[in-house]
Amino acid sequence: MSVAFAAVVVRLVAVQVVSPHRYVAFGHSERVRAVTLPGERGVILDRDGNELALSMPQSTVWANPHLVTDPRGEAQTLSPVLGMGEAETQDKLSKDAGFVYLARKVSDDVAAKVKAMALPGISLLPEPQRFFPEGDLALPILGKVGLDGNGLAGVELQYERILEGHAGRLVVERDPRGADIPGGLRRLDPPARGSDLVLTIDRSLQYEAERALSDEIVKAKAKGGMAIVMDTASGEVLALANLMAGDGGAVSPADRNSAVTNVYEPGSVNKLITLSAALEEGVVRPEDKLTVGNSIRVADATFTEHESHPVQQWSVTDIMANSSNVGTIMIGEKVGKDRLDHYLRAFGLGRPTGLGFPGETPGLLLDPAHWYPTSIGTVPIGQGLAVTAMQMVAAYNSVANGGVYVAPKLVKATVDERGVQHATPPSTKRRVISPRTAAQVAAMMQEVVRVGTGTAAAIDGYDVAGKTGTARKPLENARGYKVGAYMASFGGFVPAERPALTAMVILDEPTPIYGGLVSAPVFKDVVGYSLRQLHIPPPPPSQPAAVPPASPDAAKTDGEVSPGTTPTTLAPPTSTTSPTSAPGRP
């Protein structure tokens, strides 16, 4: 009895006196639990507050292999529910670890089944999952998030710091059943929710833009397409569609925001800048007539019209309405390479738009000092340079804004954790051309839609100003152009007298190839819908700028296709070439 008592005393002294800290720590670790509380990621909303992307807790199934008593049996039970291989599951359950993921962010049904099984060592853990309730709508803009909830692409990546939530921590004493011990330790460091992001995108317009573009891609058997609708005054992007055709003709969102990250040769839509520069510099006047032949020789290359025509006395308006290559090159030569380069850059080409979108490219503009002898023939008609669709719509928007460039804008505001909305700064603006020049160019663009190459873009009740483009596609990693491959585009704004919307539609390798036939109808559909959706009435009649209307002869031709004999985009000319016939119109 005494010995037993002595043993107890010795043990008591050993526990209480000799090494008490170890047992205190052990007891502490048994009772105190530290739980990480995930910070919810902010929501991405459209301009009207409709959710485009939001996070919701989903259950993750995890295991503590130390507590798993029968790895094989539990693997047999779990694997069919989790959709995993039995061997893989058993392997995970047999690991020498205290925490193993079995399946992350499973559906509610699966989570309920796992919970009902009540298998030893198997638990559920809430983790936020990103959802896109609109399906694939605007996906190339929104981007995507990784398994751990971090942005990987699109605005999810660009605004990661704003959207991401900050995890919190709860330290609490719990009994063996997991219940909080009353009066025990409880220390909460609350998680911080990420801010919401309000885009300038209008959900309805985005849907319509994607729908109309998708229909046309299918109809024209195009490889893909882009469509942008912009609020003229503010530069806010209301719709930005990026679609591509997959195998079998099914159309799906492009794998990236091509309108910002991909470049293409603009072709005839670039003539707007050439003519704006000429008018602004006083090189030509709207009523000036030029003697325009069927071809023109620049250095060692010959540029031709798309369709042969006799020598014409064309006004600048005729040249615009016809999308005349020869006439535009003649005007471009009058402007000169330095001034032309100045206006190209002033209109926003050759540098990022300021959106800051991940992967945005500034485009390709050669320094005038490095221009090739033929560049004064190619650049005015939109070859020998590369732009993004966003740059080009911003350039058109400059004319719509009376000559003021307004930087595109994709994010309207952020909403902090308390629900307070913080508007983003307004877009930067700068004057590019005078209001008079802008009005003259706009009036010429109206002629393009009225009687020129862009009649398919006409919208009932409104005057539309626009310009078509059909540009050849350069070869990839080689000089020259792909045979039969074209980028068909149409850019414009409406109402022409008081522009409210500016838009650009581009189709990649459509059939037929002409922007006036494939892109202009999409413009009409999308912008027409937008006008109704946004309740934009036709403005009262006003006096348009004094430019001569397009002549009847001009209206009968369609010379928007860039010649196929010109040098490649940014490569020196190879040799003197003779005029070749561009693809005929269907």
Partner: protein
């Protein structure tokens, strides 16, 4: 001051060992005096009173300790109940938040234009209108200002292949620079390409 130091005359009690003698009346000339009064200290209580007082104190202390213990237990019970209630409320909050999130997602999905169009066409059998009807205003307000003076005659309508899905309009306002006679047709019911004609031919992820 001790009891020994106090004036003896004030003590009404007889001295110990004093003989009891029959009381005699005081001389008629002597003044009649009252015995002095003083406060009796606790230590001067008798043993019986002291015991009673001790019992009272003990009882009071016991009651007090019992009350404290009871209060302590009640307090702990209260804390435990509050903790349980807090836990239940936290669970309710969490469930409500999860439900709110699910419903929010559901509302967003249900209000999606793609779903609405699909439901309208597939479930309700609705069809998109073949075109949009535009009504043109009549009267002086509808007359546009004259075109600027130009030396070029107004072009005739273009005889080019009609683009897909378009039809020339008879009341279009797209004649800003011409002096051509405008159509006086008061209204048009031109059929145009619908903007909501069909669901997107797209694959869903």
């Amino acid at each position: 001051m001790t009891a020994a130091q106090r004036p003896q005359a004030a003590d009404p009690r007889p001295e110990p060992g004093a003989h009891a003698t029959p009381a005699r009346p005081a001389p008629a000339t002597a003044p009649r005096t009252r015995p002095p009064l003083r406060v009796v200290g606790p230590r001067e209580l008798g043993p019986r009173a002291r015991r009673r007082r001790a019992r009272l104190l003990t009882t009071g202390a016991g009651v007090l300790v019992s009350a404290l213990l009871f209060g302590l237990v009640a307090f702990h019970v209260l804390i435990a109940q509050s903790q349980l209630q807090l836990g239940r409320m936290e669970t309710q909050t969490s469930d409500a938040q999860a439900r709110y999130d699910r419903l929010r997602l559901q509302v967003a999905q249900l209000s999606s234009p793609g779903r609405i169009v699909a439901a309208a066409q597939e479930r309700l059998g609705m069809v998109a209108p073949p075109g949009v009807t535009f009504l043109s205003p009549v009267g002086p307000a509808a007359i546009k200002p004259p075109a600027p003076v130009t030396s070029v005659p107004k072009p005739a309508p273009v005889s080019k292949p009609a683009p897909v899905g378009t039809t020339p309009t008879t009341a279009s306002r797209s004649t800003p620079t011409t002096a051509a006679p405008r159509s006086t047709t008061p209204t048009t019911t031109k059929q145009t390409t619908s903007t909501t004609s069909a669901p997107r031919n797209r694959t869903k992820p």
